[in-house]
Symmetry: C2
Subunit: 238 residues, 2 copies
């Protein structure tokens, strides 16, 4: 019996950007554990679940687990432990592979890493399937080349200083910013201050009805950055 | 007639890491232009072609074009222009979409960007499909989390200084190095010099029979870094 716990990366949101390998694994799994968020009004939201519904995966085998989209990770440590326990005991009785899925790629700023580390500590057989990260899909949406030839890339998540951002931009590095809602003020100041710099702004990449892209500075300044927003900053050619 | 030229990203090498969208596009295309390399002995090598053969794509519609794997980009500018001309004139007569394919993701250090820019300048309808970059697949292969929580990422291609690499590592950033063959000496010195640092070394990620991974410093020091090698550097926990 060679069953394993697969961490399956689902990509940015478009069900067609799931890999052939991930689709096969989802179809063959006995159970799929899937991150979701419960809103203040008690509604369960899960993009991962939506992707799997579009792919025609049997909903009966999907088990959502709650992942609060907040910085207060200490408060959620216990939740992750409870989820990991649940997955481990499910796996013990399972006859086939089970899946824990993640949006984007599971090794790239994904909160399922907590669960992965807890299950690894239990010496359970973990396997993984790579996926398309959101910033890669963003580059495609804007039809830009994220990095080429000898260019360097910096990825900044969450909190950083104005000085750091300025240095990166002046060194002509491409800068990707994830989880932008935490740095809205710094980014908006940078947009007004930095000359010869293009700010590519994205919301909800891969989610057809919500996807938004602009490089107009005024349009970006008018936005309230949601959780699923990201930015690609590049020196302008002129 | 809404035909377009699709730049299709094929992922790191494993045919199953192609997305559903890319597979559908390859199947429906009238012709596929595909990068290849001619060796000194005159043999044509193409990983992209190999991926498509594994996927069962009709070989009759695949047109390889030569991309020398060298730094001498100036020498190849003319080759890219010739290829772009050929694609443009093919597209003019085509009745359906045509594809230009790329390994990894077409916006992430892919040499097809030259062709993309030449065709964009001709005002041809360009569309793109995102793919899994090689460094993401490398993280999966080593079962590591590339970046999590507030960690930063630096991607360095080709040429950089020892000082830059040292600063990045001391700042506890995850560093990804692409096209490592150009910096073999600096990297090997760093491996011997940097304390509390783990060097994850990869060759030919996604190519089943050639894939190689080690984090043993002695094993890395003994390797001659090939063209398809990359590294993920992280501070060790201890």
């Amino acid at each position: 019996m060679n069953k394993a716990i697969f961490f399956v990366s689902l990509g940015p949101g478009d069900a067609e950007l799931v890999t052939i390998k991930a689709l096969r694994c989802l179809e063959n799994a006995e159970a799929i554990f899937c991150p979701s968020t419960t809103t203040k009004s008690g509604k369960t939201i899960s993009r991962a679940l939506k992707i799997m519904k579009t792919l025609g995966i049997d909903e009966g085998k999907i088990h959502p687990f709650d992942v609060p989209m907040s910085k207060e990770r200490s408060l959620t440590k216990k939740d992750y432990e409870t989820t990991a326990e649940k997955i481990a005991s499910y796996f013990e009785k399972a006859e086939k592979d089970i899946v824990v899925c993640a949006q984007g790629d599971a090794s790239f700023y994904s909160s399922v890493y907590y669960i992965s580390e807890l299950l690894t500590a239990k010496n359970l057989p973990i396997k993984r399937i790579a996926g398309v990260p959101a910033f890669i899909a963003a580059g495609t949406l804007a039809n830009i080349h994220i990095v080429k030839q000898e260019e360097r890339l910096r990825v900044l998540p969450g909190v950083f200083t104005m000085e750091e951002l300025r240095q990166e931009c002046e060194a002509k590095n491409t800068v990707v910013i994830m989880k932008m809602s935490q740095s809205e003020e710094i980014i908006k100041t940078a947009i007004q201050d930095f000359a010869n710099t293009t700010f590519h702004y994205f919301e909800n990449v891969g989610v057809e009805e919500k996807e938004y892209y602009t490089k107009s500075k005024n349009e970006i300044l008018a936005r309230k950055f949601p959780y699923f927003s990201l930015m690609i900053i590049q020196k302008s050619n002129n």
